[in-house]
Symmetry: C2
Subunit: 219 residues, 2 copies
DNA sequence: GAATGTATGTTGAATTTTCAACACCGGGAG
DNA sequence: CTCCCGGTGTTGAAAATTCAACATACATTC
């Protein structure tokens, strides 16, 4: 177990937890390590959603199957990242997706109910874990909300401006750097890359902004 | 305080809490009632995001202001509904929006930190509240995720089909009823109403579905 | 320095969406 | 019954997006 500490330390779920408290705490919340080989599933659609998982080594993919049986990969979860926390915390009866090992992996499975219910000895770190979990789920919420806010605009120009104005606000100035290249920004805004490039050029010609690669200035 | 119990009882945050435990518990989590008159703000953009609010009477609106100072109403929060929980739980320094009374109102403000940190006497209902809060935030997450999943499709037809297939899956059958009229569905899918109507007709002509108002059957 | 690859910008045609306007239907009010 | 109204379907023109293809710039590699 000890050899996973460097990974556990990197996971925000354990922020503020001293490593020396980890083993006690893992017992407290029912943590157990599972080894899975590539292609094997950790949980399948329809399984009860009771566990929060964390990738210790390898990788896990989140797979969704639609009405007609078309499979698609929803997310790729790497070391120190959590999976299944939304479903477990939402208290839904059955998982709407599956988690499949993307490589030979080891994952830490924790019982969500035992995280949210204080243990009898009311350990200090326990309430910290709850706080961290809540913070993680709420932060994801903010990220989603922001994306919806932006992509619900109807035109490329509106989406782009909503994104840039928000970025300006966040970074506190008219000049700022975005973390995406053109293709990634197009993917985020759910628009066509070439159309996006064209729109940026147009805004530049109209004197609304200046830009150079990932650097933007609103005028 | 007692006269608010019927409202409190309706809020999912207090699911599984006995009413007779409420007053102890509210003390435990630092609950206090605030009366605000119409137009007065409860929290302003930039304020620390430390409180979870609940509307006891009246209504509250969530207001966002963009870079250029354009104000827009993001959400309307009615009795027994929560507000600010996402921001407080995400642990962000400052609110990105404001909460303004939409009518003369009374709201219950609770200290988020005192919810997430177990009180010294480790009361049973306290852990239930945490569980409920986590569940609320996570559920909102699922709702957002589903909406993104659907609206990230590029065409009206794809969005519509993604929505209907998901609805079919959720309701467990090819026949189901949707909770939206045409305009509302268009708003949810972020498309034009008339275009949506046209697309539904087309799918019907192509023999892909049957529909009658809010009743749909996939073939 | 030439070859290669990647990121970005540009363009025009095909497709799709939006917008405005109107027709139709059924229910409720008077 | 008739009138009115909200919800829905239809249509055609205008606007915007997507798509494919190519141009350009720059960095890397050999």
């Amino acid at each position: 177990m000890k050899n996973y500490y460097p990974i556990l330390e990197r996971c925000p779920l354990f922020n503020g937890i001293r490593m020396e408290d980890l083993s006690v705490m893992l017992g407290c919340i029912g943590g157990r390590v599972l080894s899975v080989s590539k292609g094997q599933s950790i949980s399948r659609e329809g399984d009860p959603a009771t566990h929060v998982g964390m990738v210790l080594s390898g990788a896990v993919r989140m797979v969704r199957e639609d009405y007609y049986g078309n499979r698609s990969i929803v997310a790729h979860i790497g070391p120190a990242e959590l999976f299944g926390e939304t479903y477990a915390c939402a208290g839904i009866a059955a998982l709407p997706i599956s988690f499949v090992a993307d490589a030979d992996s080891q994952v830490l499975l924790m019982d969500c109910r035992r995280i949210t219910t204080s243990c009898c000895n009311a350990c200090a770190f326990h309430s910290r874990i709850i706080f961290n979990l809540l913070q993680l789920v709420a932060t994801k919420n903010l990220v989603f909300d922001q994306k919806i806010q932006i992509t619900s605009k109807r035109t490329t120009r509106e989406k782009l401006m909503a994104y840039l104005l928000n970025e300006a606000k966040l970074q506190g100035g008219r000049s700022f750097t975005i973390p995406y290249d053109r293709q990634e920004l197009a993917d985020y805004l759910e628009v066509d890359r070439s159309g996006l490039s064209a729109e940026i050029s147009k805004l530049r010609r109209e004197g609304i902004l200046e830009s150079e690669k990932k650097q933007f200035t609103l005028l």
